[in-house]
C-alpha cells in the first residue's frame, strides 16, 4: 500500500452499516466450531429422535406416521435451541467486551444485530436439515411436499427464537446465558408439543400451551403432515415474534444509548 497516514484520501463509510458476507461466513464458521452449541443443537435432537422416534415405526398419530411426527417436532426443537443460542450470543459478546471493541469499527449496532439474527437462522437451518437427514436415512418416508413445507415452517418459524435469544442476550449479560435458560427452553418445548403430542397432556395444559411461544411453530411445522393449515399457530408465531423483537429492540436501544 503506497498511501501514508498523512496523505488525505477519500475515506468512505461502508455500505449496509458494515454488514457483509465475509463477516457472516466467519461468524457461521465460529458458531459451528462451538462444541456446546453443536451438541445441544444437532446431537441432542438427533439422539432424541433415535431413542424416542425410531422405535415407534409403524405407529400412527392422528392417522399419520408417528416417526415423521416426532422427527418434525425434534427438527423444530433443534432449530429452536440453535436460533436461541445464536441470538443469545450477544450476551456472551457483551460480557467479553467484544461489543465495545466493535464500537471502534464502522459496524453499526443494527447491522451487528442483523448479523446475529442471520447467523442464528443459519444454525436453525442446519439443525432442521440434520434431523431430517437422519430421519430420511433411517427410513422415514413422507411426500416431498411435506418435507419441504414442514422444513420451511420449522426453519422460518424459529425466527421467534432468534428474537427470543436476542431479548435474552440484551437482558442477561452473561457468558452462561444458555445454561441459565436451558430449563425454560425445555418447558417451552414441552408446551409446544415437541416431546409429547399435546393431546396426550391434561386438558388444562393443552389450553395453556396455545398461548406459549413454541406452540405456534410446532403446529405450523406439523400441519403439512397432519393435514391443513394452522391459523392459530400462525397467529401465535407472529405475535410472539413481534413481542420478543420489540422487547429486544427496547433493551437494544437502552444498551446503545449507554454504550
Amino acid at each position: 500500500m503506497s498511501s501514508t497516514a498523512t496523505e488525505p484520501r477519500e475515506r468512505q463509510v461502508p455500505p449496509l452499516g458494515g454488514l457483509n458476507p465475509t463477516m457472516l461466513r466467519l461468524e457461521v464458521r465460529r458458531v459451528l466450531r462451538n462444541r456446546r452449541t453443536m451438541i445441544l443443537t444437532l446431537i441432542f435432537p438427533s439422539v432424541f429422535f433415535l431413542l424416542f422416534g425410531l422405535p415407534r415405526k409403524g405407529e400412527t398419530i392422528d392417522g399419520k406416521s408417528a416417526v415423521a411426527y416426532v422427527m418434525i417436532s425434534l427438527a423444530v426443537y433443534g432449530a429452536m435451541i440453535g436460533t436461541t443460542a445464536g441470538g443469545a450470543a450477544v450476551a456472551v459478546e457483551r460480557s467479553l467486551g467484544w461489543s465495545r471493541q466493535l464500537r471502534l469499527t464502522p459496524l453499526r449496532p443494527l447491522a451487528y444485530v442483523i448479523s446475529k439474527v442471520l447467523t442464528a437462522m443459519v444454525l436453525g437451518l442446519v439443525a432442521v436439515l440434520v434431523v431430517f437427514a437422519i430421519g430420511a436415512v433411517t427410513g422415514t418416508r413422507i411426500p416431498a411436499g411435506v418435507w419441504l413445507a414442514s422444513g420451511l415452517a420449522a426453519w422460518l418459524g424459529s425466527l421467534v427464537f432468534a428474537a427470543f435469544g436476542l431479548f435474552l442476550g440484551f437482558l442477561v449479560p452473561s457468558e452462561n446465558v444458555m445454561q441459565i435458560v436451558g430449563p425454560v427452553l425445555a418447558i417451552l418445548a414441552l408446551f409446544g408439543g415437541l416431546f409429547v403430542p399435546l393431546q396426550f397432556l391434561p386438558q388444562v395444559m393443552q389450553t395453556i400451551a396455545k398461548y406459549t411461544p413454541v406452540y405456534g411453530v410446532g403446529e405450523m411445522a406439523r400441519a403439512p403432515l397432519v393435514g391443513g393449515f394452522h391459523l392459530t399457530g400462525l397467529v401465535n408465531v407472529i405475535a410472539w415474534t413481534l413481542f420478543f423483537a420489540l422487547a429486544a429492540t427496547q433493551l437494544f436501544r437502552r444498551d446503545t444509548a449507554r454504550v
Partner: protein, 311 residues
C-alpha cells in the same frame, strides 16, 4: 492550525459527570496532525473518561469533540481514527487471523490481514486461537486491528498494561516504526519512561483537569534544577532561602531539602558554613515533574500550566 488541515483532535470544554463525581472538568485539548502525544496522569485522573468521549464511547455532559473535523462516530466509520483500548474484548474462539479478517471486512477500505499482522509482529501466530494468546499477544492483535483502516489518528489507552519489559519494548518498536509514516498518535499511560521515550508532547492530567501541556523537555523543566538533601538539625531555613538560585526549601525533621538551580553553591554553603552532613545531590526527572504536578495541592496546577494548554 496554520496548515489549513483540521486538527486531529479538538476537544472543547469537555465535562463528564458520574452522579456526584466530576471525572473531567471543562477540558480542552488541541492536537495537530502528526503529533505523538502522551496523555499522562495517575489512575483515576480522567484519562480513560476523556478518551471514551474522544471516541464517542460516552457522551460528555458539556463541550464538543471533533476528530479530523468530524464527530467521533463518523471518524471511526470512515477509518480516520482507530484505538487500542484497555478493556476491548476479543472473541476467544476466533483465531488471530479470523479476528483481523472479520474486522477488516467491516471497513470500506482496509489493509490486508497479512500486512497488519506483520506490522504488529504476530504473523507467526495467525492461526492460533485467541484464547491461547498471552496478554501481550492479544494486545498486539488489538493493535493489528487498529491498523486495518490505516487511521490518521491512533489512540492507545494504557496499551502496555500487564506486559513484561520485553513485551513493552516490542510493542513500542512496532508503534514507533508505524508512526514514522506520519500517523498522529495519542497514548495514555502512567509509565513515565514511555512518555519520555516516545512522545513529542506530554499532556498531564489530574482530577479531570489538564495541569501541564508542553514538549517533553518543557514539562521536565517545570521541575528543573536539582535537589540538595542533607541532615542538619536546627536548620536555618531563612538563611537557605537567601542563597542564590534557591527556589524552594523544605524541612522534614532533621532533613533539609533544597530545590535550587545552583546546587553547587548550596552544597558549598551547607558543608562549609553549617553543621549539615550526609549531603546528597539529585537531579529532578520526569518522575519528579509528574509527582509535583499530580500530587500537589490545587495551587500547583495554575502555576505549572504552560502555554500549550492555553490554545
Amino acid at each position: 492550525m496554520t496548515s489549513g488541515q483540521p486538527l486531529a483532535v479538538d476537544l472543547r470544554g469537555l465535562t463528564k459527570r458520574y452522579g456526584e463525581l466530576t471525572a473531567v472538568r471543562d477540558l480542552s485539548m488541541a492536537i495537530e496532525s502528526g503529533e505523538i502525544v502522551a496523555f499522562l496522569g495517575p489512575n483515576g485522573a480522567g484519562k480513560t473518561t476523556t478518551i471514551d468521549m474522544m471516541l464517542g464511547l460516552s457522551k460528555p455532559n458539556a463541550g464538543s469533540v471533533a476528530v479530523y473535523g468530524r464527530s467521533p462516530r463518523d471518524a471511526i466509520a470512515r477509518g480516520e481514527v482507530a484505538a487500542v483500548m484497555q478493556t476491548g474484548g476479543l472473541l476467544k474462539d476466533f483465531t488471530v487471523a479470523e479476528t483481523v479478517q472479520y474486522t477488516a471486512s467491516l471497513y470500506a477500505h482496509a489493509r490486508s490481514a497479512d500486512e497488519v499482522l506483520d506490522r504488529a509482529g504476530i504473523k507467526a501466530i495467525a492461526d492460533r486461537m485467541v484464547r491461547k494468546c498471552s496478554g501481550g499477544e492479544q494486545q498486539r492483535l488489538r493493535f493489528a486491528i487498529a491498523l486495518l483502516s490505516d487511521p490518521r489518528l491512533l489512540v492507545l489507552d494504557e496499551p502496555t498494561t500487564g506486559m513484561d519489559v520485553e513485551g513493552r519494548r516490542d510493542f513500542w518498536t512496532a508503534i514507533r516504526a508505524d508512526a514514522e509514516r506520519g500517523r498522529t498518535v495519542l497514548f495514555a499511560t502512567h509509565y513515565l519512561d514511555e512518555a519520555d521515550a516516545y512522545a513529542d508532547r506530554i499532556i498531564l492530567i489530574r482530577s479531570g483537569v489538564i495541569v501541564a501541556d508542553g514538549t517533553t523537555a518543557e514539562v521536565k523543566n517545570l521541575a528543573s534544577g536539582r535537589i540538595v538533601r542533607a541532615t542538619w538539625p536546627g536548620a536555618d531555613e531563612a538563611e537557605l532561602r537567601r542563597l542564590p538560585g534557591v527556589d524552594q526549601v523544605e524541612l522534614r525533621g532533621d532533613t533539609v531539602l533544597v530545590h535550587a538551580s545552583d546546587s553547587d553553591a548550596v552544597a558549598r554553603f551547607l558543608l562549609t558554613a553549617t553543621k549539615a552532613r550526609d549531603l546528597e545531590i539529585t537531579s529532578k526527572n520526569l518522575e519528579d515533574a509528574f509527582l509535583a504536578l499530580t500530587t500537589d495541592t490545587a495551587g500547583a496546577a495554575s502555576t505549572a500550566t504552560t502555554a500549550g494548554s492555553q490554545r
